[in-house]
């Protein structure tokens, strides 16, 4: 269960306003850009086998439709993005300042209709905007000011110095739609604050994960449909050589998790090595021959199986070797569900484990009983007893 405040759970349970954000490297899409009536479908996978199984490399999916009525996305590249949804946890009355205001964790920015157009903590910034500020967005240490002359002036939040940024046409239009609003998104606590006149509303966001949106073949339509997978798809490629992975012969013996870390680096994702708790010190003395001629995702599956886990990306976009979390305590009574169909039987506890080769080279087992779990042809467990 993703860690969220009790205020968040209460807000969702009470039906407070919610807001979806799709945050790309250079653009952010919100409710008005997403066809909410079609909705966002998010598929979160832990096990796709019939019985609960280890050794899976799972890829979560998200699908949605983006409006493109003004054609601003016709040439947009899309790419990796964070999908996150927030719930409004508070509304406060504040003293109005200037025409637009926004505060980061350390500084307050107030815009005025006449020169000086922008003040930081009560002092005019040295590099003044050329025109009155329409809206302010503070994100990731940068203060973006949308000006009435159609341009964006940016500042570094920590020192107030002007900063050169490139803002695409979509974001220019997007920030214009936020006229009169000051917005600050804090990535650390996932709180979004919006100042509108004398009102300050706060949303707490819980991410769905990081995904990759491929540029559609025909983007010049009024509404663009996307079905996106998380970063596990980056492993859908041939397993590189040791040299390409940056592994020298002297790196052997190499732990399983060490190899997985090299692979993660090769595809540009993060891997939490501490998430491998079973066989965490297991290592190979040389490159496993079966790694040649297969793809990286299968190797991920082998290592996950050796770690008695499933490989998946968590909501923060980090690869982890995951297993059942028994301490979530989430429960639902009749008011918490619309439909509920429990099966008439219950599953059996695994009481035996086989590790064998289909070719008969080795066949080991552990435990005794008829509820056996089979590990077969895993080169990272070849002959392991």
């Amino acid at each position: 269960m993703y860690n969220a405040s009790s205020a968040f759970h209460t807000a969702v349970a009470n039906g407070s306003p919610q807001m979806a954000l799709l945050i790309f490297s250079d653009a952010v899409f919100c409710n008005r850009d997403i066809n909410v009536s079609v909705g966002i479908e998010f598929n979160d996978y832990f096990n796709v086998e019939e019985d609960l199984s280890i050794g899976q490399a799972l890829s979560n999916e998200i699908s949605f439709n983006l409006f493109n009525e003004e054609g601003l996305l016709n040439n947009y590249a899309f790419g990796d993005f964070l999908a996150t949804i927030g719930a409004q946890i508070s509304t406060e009355t504040v003293t109005a300042q200037g025409t637009v205001r926004a505060s980061s964790t350390a500084h307050t920015y107030v815009a005025y209709s006449s020169s000086p157009y922008l003040k930081r903590d009560g002092t005019a910034v040295s590099s003044q905007p050329d025109a009155p500020v329409v809206s302010i967005l503070i994100y990731d240490g940068t203060v973006y000011c949308r000006l009435s002359n159609g341009t964006v002036k940016a500042y570094t939040d920590s020192n107030g110095n002007a900063k050169t940024v490139t803002v695409n046409s979509f974001m220019l239009a997007q920030m214009n739609k936020w006229a009169g609003e000051g917005i600050f998104y804090n990535k650390n606590n996932r709180l979004l604050k919006i100042w509108r006149g004398t009102t300050l509303v706060t949303y707490e966001f819980v991410p769905l994960g990081y995904f990759t949106a491929e540029r559609p073949n025909v983007p010049a339509v009024n509404e663009i449909h996307f079905t996106c997978n998380d970063f596990m798809m980056k492993f859908d490629r041939d397993m590189p050589s040791d040299a390409a992975l940056g592994i020298a012969s002297t790196d052997y013996p190499l732990t399983f998790k060490g190899l997985l870390a090299k692979m993660a680096t090769a595809v540009g994702v993060s891997f939490d090595q501490s998430s491998m708790t079973v066989n965490s010190n297991a290592a190979i003395s040389a490159r496993v021959p079966e790694c040649d001629g297969t793809n990286m995702r299968e190797v991920v599956q082998w290592i996950a199986e050796a770690g008695a886990a499933v490989a998946r990306f968590n909501r923060d976009g980090v690869l982890v070797l995951d297993w059942i979390r028994t301490n979530t305590g989430q429960s639902y009574d009749e008011t918490g569900y619309r439909e509920f169909n429990p099966y008439w039987y219950h599953t059996k506890t695994v009481n035996r484990l086989y590790n064998r080769s289909s070719a008969g080279e080795y066949d080991k087992n552990y435990g005794s009983g008829s509820e056996a779990y089979l590990i077969q042809d895993n080169p990272f467990l070849k002959g392991v007893t």
């Binding site: 269960m1 860690n3 759970h9 969702v12 349970a13 979806a20 009536s37 079609v38 966002i40 479908e41 998010f42 598929n43 979160d44 996978y45 832990f46 096990n47 796709v48 019939e50 019985d51 280890i54 819980v206 066989n279 010190n281 297991a282 190979i284 003395s285 496993v288 886990a309 297993w323 059942i324 979390r325 028994t326 979530t328 989430q330 429960s331 639902y332 918490g336 619309r338 439909e339 509920f340 429990p342 099966y343 039987y345 219950h346 599953t347 059996k348 695994v350 484990l353 086989y354 590790n355 066949d363 552990y366 435990g367 008829s370 779990y373 590990i375 990272f380 467990l381 070849k382 392991v384």
Partner: protein
């Protein structure tokens, strides 16, 4: 290079798997928020029962709020391992394994249906059968084997039904994978050969050979057919032989027992026409159909059905023995008129005038009844730019009207008109239809005062004249208030109609001439004869020089400044005004009476204005608009002005003249009583003999 796995063990894996508690698989449509992740253990309760299960998949649909389907799966028993556990592995090399009999049996049972897969050296089989309560299920067997003696492979199907994937099976045939070397053995042992692009179709009690898409029943003959040399030979019970084959031209050839070709199709299928009908069907209410198809159909007819087109129309028709046209309806089949029908009453005299029915134009105008006026218009059409039309016609059109079109005349004119509450005549423009004025419109600016004098517009004669009139010449200020008032200068002013007020200022002074003392006012009055000495302190000089009077003139568009005046010819002057046409000009006269004595005077020549007449801008007073024409006429001008002086001898009066008006001011010696003393003075008196100026000495 051998790979060594270090520190890895199954125990940790086993411990984790073994730690998974038993759980009930479940499927719940919840209102869970999206902080719940797949892999979480959730508890769902219903009544007194609660179920805790790990979430295998979570599918959330968010449409402004979430709805999440949580799924936890799992079988009652773990199947894969239970089947494989019965597998018997052997050790040894691949070469050794190929020479040994290996038996592998996989068994699985789900809900009373058991499947057994058995693999041996030369045979592989699948058996599905019911067990327990499902023991009545008939076993289904698929068995593939190789005959060790013949080395032939065989598939045995022991199922009640065989289903083949339609598209895959068809592609298999089309690809030519089934050849003559392959065959199907029927239950009775008959072997049926198949060739490329052919198939055997069993339909009901018949067996068809399909070749190139054509079916042909071969019942009863199949057992006697044999193939040789690319021909099929059919042998009848009586020994006759029939050959069917395809020649080099790709044609299907039939030959009888004697080797003679025959046309199988014609000999066997004489056709029969069984009916002629119209496939379009009967017309229904409201439907029109003027053409269609007549179709013949039958049995064993190659071009079945055969159809020709028909149509229906009408034409002019004069029945025999008559001289009056009517119309006949005809039916045309395949381009030939085969029917004609007319109604004897379909005559022009029975049809409304100008109405055509089936080509017969009516001439009957009816009796009684009522017509309908459909239009009132002006046949002359609209006037165009620059065109004037003060009269015309209005036309009425209608139907069933004997005198249609009916026309009356209209005219547009004007007449004198005094608007209500006004005393100024104007003119009203009216529209007169059939002798009756039905419209009138007046322009309030169309009055005499806004029109050039003498010009008539729409009957209104203008009075706005260019002729100025001097109404009055007077002194300003007026009559002296008392006998002792001193006023040594006065202004004489002329006012009138259509003229700007003109005025001139005169000073009363005196001078000496030939020892006589004169009073000077443009002209002069001898005040005292003989040599005089001025005793007043203000007069220090004695003037003796004779006065020479001469005139200088200067022509200019505006009053000149400075002293750069120019002389006119000697004959130019007051009594010989210089005519300079229609241009206004200034003239200056100087009367030099010696040093320090000078009188200057200006006057203007009047302007003559000529006009063009009618309702044009030049005839309308400036600032006024008549009938949309803005006036530009401005006759305001400076009053003509002349001061006539007498000879250069003594003169006691001066006559001011403006146009036809004159006013004479005169100098009069007088005495007034001032502080008890009688004091001589000279007064300027107007035409009413009232003193308007005076000085003493």
């Amino acid at each position: 290079m051998a790979v060594t796995i270090t520190d890895a063990s199954l125990q940790g894996i086993y411990n984790r798997l073994h730690a998974i508690p038993e759980y009930h698989p479940l499927d719940a449509q919840t209102f869970a928020d999206w902080s719940v992740e797949a892999g979480d253990v959730v508890t769902v309760s219903r009544e007194n029962d609660s179920y805790s299960s790990p979430v295998h998949t979570s599918r959330m649909v968010w449409k402004g709020s979430p709805e999440t389907q949580l799924t936890s799966g799992g079988n009652k028993q773990r199947d894969p391992v239970s089947t494989v556990s019965q597998k018997k592995y052997r050790r040894g090399s691949a070469a050794q394994r190929s020479q040994e009999i290996i038996q592998s049996t996989l068994e699985d049972e789900v809900d009373g249906v058991r499947s057994t897969v058995t693999q041996m050296a030369n045979q592989w089989s699948v058996v599905v059968e019911g067990t327990g309560d499902n023991a009545h299920i008939k076993p289904a067997v698929i068995q593939a084997s190789i005959d060790a003696a013949t080395s032939q492979s065989k598939i045995h199907l022991g199922a009640d039904k065989i289903e083949l994937d339609g598209s895959t099976f068809a592609e298999y045939f089309a690809s030519g994978n089934i050849t003559l070397a392959q065959y199907v053995t029927l239950d009775d042992g008959t072997e049926v050969f198949l060739r490329d692009n052919s198939a055997i179709v069993v339909s009901g009690e018949e067996v068809d050979i399909v070749y190139g898409g054509n079916h042909r029943p071969i019942e009863y003959c199949l057992a006697n057919a044999e193939v040789s040399n690319d021909k099929v030979h059919f042998t009848h019970m009586n020994g006759d032989e029939l050959q069917i084959y395809i020649n080099n031209d790709g044609e299907l050839v039939f030959k009888d027992a004697q080797g003679n070709e025959f046309s199988f199709e014609k000999a066997v299928y004489p056709g029969t026409i069984t009916g002629i009908a119209c496939p379009n069907g009967a017309v229904t209410d409201g439907q029109t159909r003027t053409n269609g198809t007549v179709e013949a159909s039958g049995t064993d007819i190659t071009n079945d059905p055969y159809s020709v087109d028909f149509s229906m129309n009408y034409e002019s028709f004069r029945p025999q023995g008559t001289s009056i046209d009517t119309a006949a309806v005809y039916f045309m089949l395949d381009g030939v008129k085969i029917g004609r029908y007319s109604d004897g009453n379909l005559l022009a005299s029975n049809i409304k005038k100008n109405v055509s029915i089936m080509g017969i134009t009516g001439s009957y105008e009816g009796s009684g009844g009522s017509g309908t006026i459909t239009e009132i218009s002006c046949p002359d059409g609209a006037v165009t730019t620059g065109q004037e039309r003060t009269q015309g016609k209005v036309r009425s059109l209608g139907t069933n009207i004997t005198n249609s079109p009916y026309e009356v005349n209209f005219a547009i004119g004007y007449e004198a008109f005094t608007p209500s509450g006004s005393s100024a005549n104007t003119a009203a423009i009216y529209f007169e239809l059939d002798g009756v004025k039905i419209g009138r419109k007046a322009d309030s600016n169309l009055v005499a005062g806004n029109i050039k004098g003498g010009v008539t517009i729409f009957g209104i004669t203008g009075t706005y004249s260019s002729h100025a009139t001097i109404d009055r010449i007077y002194s300003e200020p007026g009559t002296l208030a008392s006998d002792t008032t001193v006023r040594t200068s006065t202004t004489i002013r002329a006012e009138g109609t259509n003229v700007a007020t003109k005025e001139a200022t005169y000073s009363l002074s005196y001078f000496a001439k030939n020892d006589d003392l004169y009073t000077n006012l443009n002209g002069y009055e001898k005040v005292q004869q003989g040599t005089q000495y001025i005793t007043q302190s203000s007069i220090v000089a004695r003037v003796k020089a004779p006065i020479d009077i001469y005139a200088l003139a200067y022509q200019s568009d505006s009053e000149p400044s400075g002293t750069a005046w120019h002389s006119l010819p000697n004959n130019a002057g007051v009594n010989n005004p210089l005519v300079i046409g229609k241009k206004e000009a200034w003239y200056k006269f100087t009367i030099d009476v010696g040093p320090n004595h000078e009188v200057r005077k200006w006057y203007k020549v009047p302007i003559e204005i000529s006009g063009k007449g009618d309702c044009v801008s030049e005839n309308i007073k400036k600032g006024k608009s008549i009938c949309g024409v803005n006036g530009s006429l401005d006759v305001t001008q400076t009053a003509p002005w002349a001061n006539q002086i007498g000879s250069n001898a003594e003169r006691k009066s001066i006559t001011m003249e403006a146009d036809a008006k004159q006013s004479t001011f005169k100098l009069v010696k007088n005495t007034v009583t001032y502080q008890g003393a009688s004091i001589p003075c000279v007064e300027l008196r107007d035409s009413s003999n009232r003193a308007v100026g005076r000085f003493y000495w």
